[in-house]
Symmetry: C2
Amino acid sequence: MIDRWDVTALALLAQAPLFSGQDTAVLHAAIPLAQPRSYERGTFIFHEGDPATIFYILQTGRVRLTQLTAEGQQVIIRYLSPGEGLGIIVALSDTTYPVTAETVADTQLLGWYKEDIKQLMLQYPSLALSGLNLIARRFVGLQAQFRELATERVEQRVARTLLRLVRQAGRRTDTGVLIDMPLSRQDLAEMTGTTLYTVSRILSKWEQAGLIQTSREQVIICQSHEIVVIAEDLPKRDA
Amino acid sequence: MIDRWDVTALALLAQAPLFSGQDTAVLHAAIPLAQPRSYERGTFIFHEGDPATIFYILQTGRVRLTQLTAEGQQVIIRYLSPGEGLGIIVALSDTTYPVTAETVADTQLLGWYKEDIKQLMLQYPSLALSGLNLIARRFVGLQAQFRELATERVEQRVARTLLRLVRQAGRRTDTGVLIDMPLSRQDLAEMTGTTLYTVSRILSKWEQAGLIQTSREQVIICQSHEIVVIAEDLPKRDA
DNA sequence: CGCGTTCTTGACTAGAATCAATGCATGTGG
DNA sequence: CCACATGCATTGATTCTAGTCAAGAACGCG
């Protein structure tokens, strides 16, 4: 029996990378097991170290993944956009969540208990392969970020991070591309492994040069090609 | 028909994380498809950017995974020990190898064409789950390394890296624990995102303090607890 | 024994962290 | 509506970590 909620959920699931390309039988098996959840902006879905029991797919909203160091310093691992999976990494292993997940906008999720998702994957191996594929992609992405952090200077990293965020949450405005989420200097610092002071200086410099526009927790990229030049450390053409 | 080679391979496979805990049926299905390979020390198994066609499991020896930056700077992602998988990340996706794999000791591998391993996983879903689990673990490890790189100072990172290497390739000697592989200052620098000069200075300091012994491409940890103190940035107890 | 690598050390520099003071919004409550 | 508290951002002064460059020493190999 398929009710209206199911139809909506089905359409959304079919979009999510994990389920896209899967047989509809998989979707129909998955939907009855799904737990819909809603969180307001600024609430925690789970904390680093909590036993991992549920795997989520983000329907709407935006989620930030962070880790804490032993000294209490925070690092932002990444932001998630609708369709992306959350906790897929550990839903299959018997460990704890390695990151903290916090909403930065009102957010709706679909959750599955790890036993259920495991069962689904055993029943539909193609779903397991899809999951493998998904993590593989994320893994490669994380490796790239690692390499950047190891070899590039702060300014390059900030530029690259802005470009990544544009791809993820960019929205065209009349003056440029707005990164459509609250984004403080501190956030950028935690993403690039630096301090909020350094980020502030860099952004000020870029704003002076007309590359970006900033205001409180907000960045608009005006000359993205110039930001690319900085990110890639290309020789800048003179006037 | 099981010949002697098969028996040996079976025993080895049963040890490898990907196959451990799997039904023997899986092993028996996997073995006939395996391509045994041997490489001398210092040869390349594949290069970053090559189309990913084969997935390997390391039987003996040691392999180094590296990435190159656009500027030609090299970063060492990690070293692999026997039993670990190589290219598992991409064997399932239709991409290219994201890293270069180079042997640092004479090495024997078992390889599977990605179509074969995919087929196996579809046939034995538990194998896919095992693979998922494996990548998940690596992923969490990489996240931790990322966080270290983002927040810790060079000295801490070098300490941590040495401890990791000890766990992976440590061999007790009369003066301490030897990291049993060729390991230049340059290598350590590429692992920690610094320069060989800085590494050299740090190791010299530690050697003076009696924490380690070094020689060309070799490190012996004598006082591992003191290295831990540095890695964890604990307050050092005075005399 | 000479050659190429690897390693060490010193001098210098630059990039970025730290500390401190202040400005600027935004939202709150009297 | 204004005074105030709070959180975010800017900027300058200073310090220091680590990178860069250069010269030479030590080691291992053919």
